[in-house]
Amino acid sequence: MDIDLYQIFGTSTKNIIKEMLDLDIKGMDSLKEEPGEIHSMGVSSIITFAGTRKGRLLIDMEPGLALYVANTLLGEEYDNIKNQMVLSTVSEINNIVSGDAVTQLNNSYSMRLRLAPPIVFTGQDVIISIPKISSLSSWGDTDYGRIRINIAWEGGNS
């Protein structure tokens, strides 16, 4: 079960991005432990979830990918990642990815997880400090920039 708690988010990320944007993510097949600090690549969104366990998903995109996602989904031509609609789009992508993964975990393991509303922030190389919780990251590449997901569960990785 425990590896499923992490891998399922990579699968959901790839599937949802493909379904919503017809965009392939290459890679995102392995997980690597992160230290306490994560350096944002451009636009980052975090969603927490709680049930029989507590955890969170961080989705981090390079600026070019965040702009592509917003422009493609909304049919607009935003050129600034600080635009509220760009930030909201990345948040909503995280919400849908988390919802998809958590739905599967709930149905498979009766974890009764519920999502909290997402938070989002922007700024290249901003340090996201999440002490006391070890986490695993997975990276993927698209034609428009890199994407990283970072998953943490209270209680650790084992």
């Binding site: 379904e19 849908i96 919802g99 009764r112 519920r114 509303p117």
Partner: protein, 119 residues
């Protein structure tokens, strides 16, 4: 007569995408609520033909809001549109008398097909 639809979702993206789909298919979006509490208040004042309701929202979630709307108006037509869709949540929605439960993401066909079954 044009059917009037109330949208309840905390994401401005979902409001924009749904509005585009609905208006291009001949429906009127009569209100945009950002959370469940706003949704209940707008339902009382706008009396829409149909509500699209998210679940995960600040202040009041969609299941609580749907319950209050159903208490006010047992004939209210509500379509849940949520990123979550596990067996327990879908079961809770059924118990509340929700007409249809849709899981995000969505496309025009999914939305319009659901509406045609409800109103």
């Amino acid at each position: 007569m044009i059917k009037r639809i109330l949208l309840v979702d905390d994401s401005p993206i979902i409001h924009r995408l749904l509005r585009k789909t609905l208006e291009s298919n001949g429906y009127e979006v009569c209100g945009d609520a950002k959370n469940g509490r706003e949704g209940v208040e707008m339902y009382k004042s706008l009396k829409p033909d149909l509500v699209f309701m998210d679940i995960t929202m600040p202040i009041m979630d969609g299941l609580e809001a749907a319950k209050l709307i159903k208490e006010l108006d047992p004939q209210a037509r509500i379509i849940m549109l949520s990123a979550m869709g596990d067996d327990e949540i879908v079961g809770q929605a059924k118990e509340l008398g929700i007409d249809i439960f849709l899981k995000k993401p969505f496309d025009d066909y999914k939305i319009i097909s659901a509406i045609s079954k409800v109103i």
